[in-house]
Structures are given as C-alpha cells and as structure tokens.
Symmetry: C2
Subunit: 346 residues, 2 copies
C-alpha cells in the first residue's frame, strides 16, 4: 500500500517557498526530498521552474534532516536548498535552507487505529504518545480517541525545542522519554522503525500504530531479539584486531571528535584502528578483507536496522563501551545512553 | 582468485609519499584507494601514522581517477589526499593530491598469456596493444612475446599526455584508438571491463587477456549483445515523458554544462526534464515512480555495465542524440563519439 500523498502541492506552501527564495535572493535552487516525497519534489520543481527559478533536484537518498544536501548544493553552486519532509536538524549557515514539512492530509481512520491499539495498551492507563512529523496533524485526534477509551495521555517537549511536542525521529526520542516516569506504556504513531528505536531505549512496553498500513504491533518481542543480536555483535567484536571507525560526511552525522576519541580508546585497548571517511555507509564497499569490525559514528540506525547486510560487526559508540568493558550491557539497554552520542554533531 | 598485491609496501614509494607530504606541509592526510587496494591503503596509513601524520582512510568506493575524494577531504579538513591506483584525471588545485600508482609486481606468466591469445588474434598480423595501469610493467614483455609469434605490435600515445603510452581507462581509449587505422585487431591486457569498453567504439576485433585470471576472450559476440541492449534502451526511451538528467558531483564526472544542454534538448523535444544531482548513481535510490527514463552524464560505464540493475532506460548523452533522431545509431556504434562527451569536465 502506498501512502496517498496530496496530489496537488498546496498553493499556500508554494507561495511560502517562493517568498522565502525571493527573500534570500536565490536564483538557482536545489530541491531535496526523501524517497517517498520525490514526486512532491518534482511538482515543486515544476512550479518553481515555471516562475523563473533555475531548479535542480537532489537525486541521492535523503535519510533525514541530518542528511542535508549541502555538498551537492555546493557542487552545483546552488543559492538555496528546499528540503522537504523533515524539520531542521543541522545548524549551518553556508547555504540558505528552506524546510518544507509535508504532513499527510488525507483522511486517516483514527478511531479504528486507536481501537486496534487498545488491547495492546491495556491494562495500562497512562500512555506516553509519540508521533513522526508527517502524522502530527493527527495528534489531538489520537489523544482524544485514547481518552475516549479511558486512557490518560501525555506527550513531552523536546529539550531544546528542535522537535515539535510529541515528535520523534529515528535517533531522538527526547520528547517522549521526558514523560517516561509518568506513563506505563508508550504509543508511537508512525512506523515500525520508530517504534523499535524507542523500544530499545525504554523498559516500558512500546506499541506502534502505523496510519499508512493500519498495522498495530507490540514491540517487546522484536526488541528483545534485536538487543540479543546487538549483544552478539559486541561479543564478536572483542576478537577483532583491525577496526574501521566510520566517520560520515553528511552534515548532521559528522562526528569527527567522537571518531578520533574512539580511535584512541581502541588503540589503548590494543587494537589497530583507523578512521574511515565516507558519505553513504554502504555494506557493498566496506573493505571487509581489511577490517575485522567497524564502529559506526554515523546514523545509529544503520547498525540497528541494516546489521544483517554487514559481514562484520558494526558497533555503535555506546556498544563499543560495553565491548571494551568500560560500561555494562545491563546499564546500556533500555537507557537513554544508547543513542545519546548522536546528539553530538561537529 | 585474488590478485597477489605486493604484501609489503615498497619503501621507495613510502619515502616518495612522505617527501611529497612534507613538501606541501600536510599534517592531516586522507588516503584513498579503489576496493582492491584498500589493504595497501591501510599499510600506507599505518606507516604514515607511525611517522606522525594524522591519517584517515577514505571508506567510500573509488571508481577511478575521476572519483577523487575532494568532498570527503574538505569535510574533514585534510591538508592533502594520497590517491592510490590511478593516474591524475581531475584538474584541481584546492587540495594537494599525491597520486601513487600501484603496479602488480608479482610474476605473471606473460608467455602463457600471449600463447592463449594467439589463436584469437590470428589470422591478423598487426595488433594494437592496450594496457591498464596496474599491468603497465608488462608492456615490453607482452610486445616481445607477440612479436615472437610473428605479430607486429603498435600502441599509441594519449592525445594530451594524461595517460601513459598504451594505457586505457574505462572511458578513454584515445591511446589505442590512435593506431586503429594501422592494425587489424586489438589486444587489451586488463579486464573484461576494459575489453568491452574498447570493443564498443571500434569495428576491429578486440581480444582481452586478463593476467589476474589468465582468462582470454574475444569480445565480438558480447559486444554485439551489449549494443543491442543499448539500442533497446534507446527505443524504450522514446516513449518516456519525464526524464531525469543525472549530474554527478564526483570531481571528474561533473558535467553541469552538458546536463543543462541536455535538459534544453529534451524540453525542445517535448519532454519534461530535470537535473538530478547526486554523488553515487545508485539504482536503489533513483525515483522510478517519478521518472520514466534517465540520461546519465556521469560515468558512462554505469549505463553500459549496470544497465540490468536499473528499472528504467538510462541513456548516455551520445545515445540520447540517437533517441531524439539528432544522429544515427549506425554512425554512433563502433565510433569514438560513443564516449567522447566524457572528455568534458566542468
């Protein structure tokens, strides 16, 4: 099933983009969007082109607000980037960037979605609610529907306001973690991907309700399995001699200081370690005949969600601390520490 | 079978690299190598690190001298790049770059390799000889062995000296094409990949002899098949409405002027056309639900060698001219024009 993205680009959004581009005096514009919104990117490009802008579309993947096409824009000397589908993640001032949120505006049967979630949420009464950006328009309706079933519902603020109230992204669950102590279970309105991310860093049960597929799932079992896989990688990592420390050049995933300190820690632990600089962390190109294992300072979800693609262990910085006996697995799992290092960008 | 790359990095090369790095006063160094030389890259990194340089390894793929890691080097503020395995391709002055050729130095049974080629080269008497960089040390021995079998052997110079005499790369066969009128057949010492490239742009028979696998092959049949596949893509392209014109950000594959003129030509021909800016042309991320076809101004070999991976036609600029009836297929095939546009870099 594909999502019914609005067929027409709303004129109000187009006018906003045009006004912003005129404000920053942009002529040459790079439009960037994640895979699911490439069609909207094309629509927007057509409209902007018709209005006299020199428009190019970013053709590469776009994994989040962290994956801002600054390098591409610089390569073609674009005056501005229009970035679709994510909120601002990267602090940068080199190229003016206009963020255009794309919330799904077709009708979602919220009552049915909540109804399907109810038996997974009970017997809990206090629910923490998290949402991904594209469903945020449903927030009050979901909250109301849950309350109609007798639940009390909380959602939090992001600690520095970068995300909307209740909003979650793949590596940042700050908003919803902030109400953890007051709730018994969590409900994520979004995808399996976001449900799993939260579930790894909380000991509360997480239920995910996906308005796209209308699928509802309790993440407890799958999370245990994923954490066992992670522990197996940590265990396997201990036998490695040569370690590649992955440093990503994507603006919001570049953590050079972290990579350097990991190289130091590995060398201190008697391993050979080198920084591997790359843009896309692609399993096809990691030199597995050279390295026995990797530490991934880029997007944490590459290790979590794609681990089966990699032939060698590919640990997160937090997991490395366990591998080097600098912290304990029991302390790490279900804790905020698992992804906290992602908050560090150079 | 894997190639027996020299286990030890020759000290003379190490001293050369160190001297060059000192000459340009580099402290922070990015070492880049294609997949097969990542082990040598690691050895070099270890040695440079031991001598006090701050070393990082480029972890991304490296498809040729065109694929110079300028973006990665800039992202980590490297003072210099050491690029292994290719000759200089990109004119650039932003970051000092030291090119380190890596020729295979283990014993190749040249006599046996030539012996296996002889029956495919006969009854021709005059042979044009081409080689890839890593086998160039074999040039005189191969020439002599062919002469011992009664052939006369020619190899040419590159028109502006960018390549060694007889050297071929995946998109540039200028050296060997320069002797075409004087020879009956060609012998490429290198891989299937290079044999195919030459064979597409010459009506002479091409034989490839691969010292790595000791495999010898006449490229005539496979080339006909590949050209038929190319024509099928040209034919399918004609029905497309929305075309993505791929503009690559790799320093030696960026052809912005060419991409812009292709967009104009396509629009004049009544099609919707947009420039798609990306670094790796990865079939997994091209938005096939948005575009009906692509024109690829990046590496030509992506279209030729990987066409089966793409769901939609992905033409080269020269092939587009045929699709738009601006030149004929008969004129294009077996001609220098097929890849000539690649000589244009911004």
């Amino acid at each position: 099933m594909t999502v019914d993205v609005p067929k027409e680009l709303p004129m109000v959004k187009l006018e906003y983009v045009v006004a912003e581009l005129e404000r920053v005096r942009a002529k040459k514009v790079l439009v960037q969007a994640p895979q699911g919104l490439k069609g909207v990117a094309l629509q927007l490009s057509e409209e902007l082109s018709r209005r006299g802008f020199d428009v190019m579309i970013s053709g590469g993947p776009c994994w989040g607000g962290c994956d801002l096409a600054l390098n591409e824009a610089a390569a073609v000397s674009a005056d501005a980037i229009v970035h679709l589908g994510h909120t601002k993640f990267v602090k940068q001032s080199t190229i003016p960037t206009i963020y255009l949120e794309c919330r799904y505006e077709h009708n979602v049967d919220v009552e049915q979605l909540v109804m399907k979630s109810v038996h997974l949420l009970r017997p809990a009464k206090k629910i923490g609610l998290g949402m991904t950006l594209q469903w945020l328009n449903l927030l009050e309706r979901v909250k109301q529907a849950l309350e109609n079933h007798g639940f009390s519902v909380l959602y939090g603020q992001h600690e520095n306001g970068r995300l909307y109230p209740s909003q979650v992204i793949g590596c940042d669950y700050t908003t919803i973690k902030s109400v953890e102590s007051k709730v018994e279970k969590f409900l994520i309105v979004g995808s399996f991907f976001h449900g799993l991310g939260l579930s790894m860093i909380t000991d509360r049960c997480v239920v995910v309700a996906d308005p796209e597929t209308m699928h509802v799932e309790d993440m407890t079992q799958i999370t245990r399995k994923v954490l066992m896989q992670r522990y197996a990688q940590i265990y396997a990592f201990r036998n490695s001699r040569r370690v590649g420390v992955i440093l990503c050049t994507k603006p919001g995933q570049k953590r050079e200081g972290l990579a350097a300190s990991i190289v130091s820690a590995l060398r201190k632990a008697g391993k050979d370690a080198y920084v591997l600089v790359l843009n896309e962390v692609d399993e096809r190109f990691l030199p597995d005949e050279v390295f026995d294992a990797y530490v991934n300072t880029a997007c944490p979800r590459i290790s979590i969600d794609d681990h089966a693609k990699f032939k060698k262990p590919i640990l997160l910085p937090s997991e490395l601390m366990v591998a080097l006996n600098l912290s304990s697995w029991e302390e790490l799992i279900y804790s905020y520490e698992y992804f906290r290092w992602c908050m560090r960008n150079d």
